[in-house]
């Protein structure tokens, strides 16, 4: 008997605290699988955000560091600059990265830090109980947009992949999704490429992953995948927005 699928080596034995169906778990696992595949467990440092995935440092069996809310790219910069031989990635939610951490992500990308950013866009603040995020969809109800996001008051959702790909510093910027096996496979490929660019010292790499938050969306995990497909996908097109080879 040969095992063709099991828990990756680079994860600890801890069970995650995530809600049933939350795709944070899928993203975690893929990052760990890539670390295994690339054989970089002993030289990887992950930077945890503040958000539901704040506890990622319990799940990854690598050196880990935490960052204040939104500041993971700055912390990663600190680590990577002083230890360029390490593989440094941040893992951040949309409140963390696109709201409070906007300055840090734009500047880390623009300086071309040789880090990888895994960006989980679930259109809501998960951890704090479902408040509106910059990525919340128009009309989407959250605890701070009780009548649905009003674009006249709060503007349109921010598309980070598009925003970062306008910077002139070379980088790899891609958006993928986690709502079907097909998209999970694509996401895995994007993540692998992102880490490879870092290992080659090529550029900053950024993978936005559309993710679900059944708890705060108030629907089941399976319904959530559908909502993601129907509501988020049209606004958040998938694809590669930028590669270091561009221009």
């Amino acid at each position: 008997m040969k095992t063709i699928f099991e828990r990756p080596q680079s994860m600890t034995k801890a069970e995650t605290h995530y809600c049933p169906g939350c795709t944070h778990g899928v993203a975690h696992r893929m990052v760990a699988e890539i670390i295994d595949e690339l054989g970089i467990r002993e030289k990887t440092v992950g930077i945890a955000p503040v958000g539901c995935s704040v506890l990622i440092y319990r799940y990854m069996d690598t050196d880990m560091q935490s960052a204040a809310h939104g500041r993971a790219p700055a912390v990663a910069t600190g680590v990577k600059r002083v230890r360029p031989e390490l593989c440094v990635y941040t893992y951040q939610g949309d409140g963390d990265l696109a709201s409070i951490g906007m300055g840090e992500i734009v500047h880390a990308a623009n300086r071309g830090e040789k880090i990888t950013v895994v960006f989980i866009n679930n259109a809501v603040y998960g951890m704090t109980g479902g408040q509106m995020a910059p990525t919340t969809m128009p009309g989407q109800k959250t605890t701070t947009s009780p009548k649905g996001r009003d674009v006249a008051q709060s503007g349109m959702p921010i598309r980070m992949a598009e925003l970062l790909s306008t910077l002139r510093t070379p980088s790899y910027v891609v958006r993928s999704s986690l709502h079907t096996p097909h998209h999970i496979i694509q996401s895995k490929q994007a993540l692998r490429r992102a880490f490879q660019y870092q290992l080659a010292g090529t550029c900053f790499s950024f993978v936005e992953l559309l993710s679900i938050c059944p708890t705060n969306w108030g629907i089941t995990p399976v319904q959530s995948n559908k909502w993601l497909e129907e509501t988020m996908l049209p606004y958040y097109p998938l694809g590669i927005f930028k590669t270091p080879e561009d221009k």
Partner: protein
Amino acid sequence: MQNEILMAGFGGQGVMTIGKFLAEGALENGQEVAWIPSYGPEMRGGTAYCTVVVADRPIGSPVVNVPTNILVMNRPSMAKFEPVVKPGGALIVNSSLVPEVSGRTDILQVRVPCNDLSIQHTGTSRSANIAGLGGSVGATDMVPLALVEAFLTRKFKKNQTVLETNLAIFKAAYQIGAEARAAWLAKKGGN
């Protein structure tokens, strides 16, 4: 005089809600009242509990490590809180989900088949918490029955069916609690 009840169950079982109902009843009754949730960093979907403190003068410490009364709606809560009930107090147990029986003799134990009562009246477990509330009011007499009933009536007035089934469940459970209490008091009195 101060009286407390801690109400514990799974995240989705609605114990926070019935705690509020109880507190509203007490407020109506002119009592001092505080409702304190557990809001610790628990795993999502884990156990949740709240404490309702009722008193006849301003409430000092809202921290009650040894509450007079405890309602446990599920097994983990039973395990965690059964030892904590203050001697002389009441332990109300959702017997539908908690097979264990407390061995303590210094407290009143009331077993209310909350889920069964709910299923009986609504076909689902959704109103099991209302049964828990009924049992608690009956077993503790913390708040007059009529005021809680009145509050429930106001609360659910928009949907007549829900109101009726809830009141029925509430009363049935109250009955169980109140009878147990009466028996226990009689026994204590007889000591």
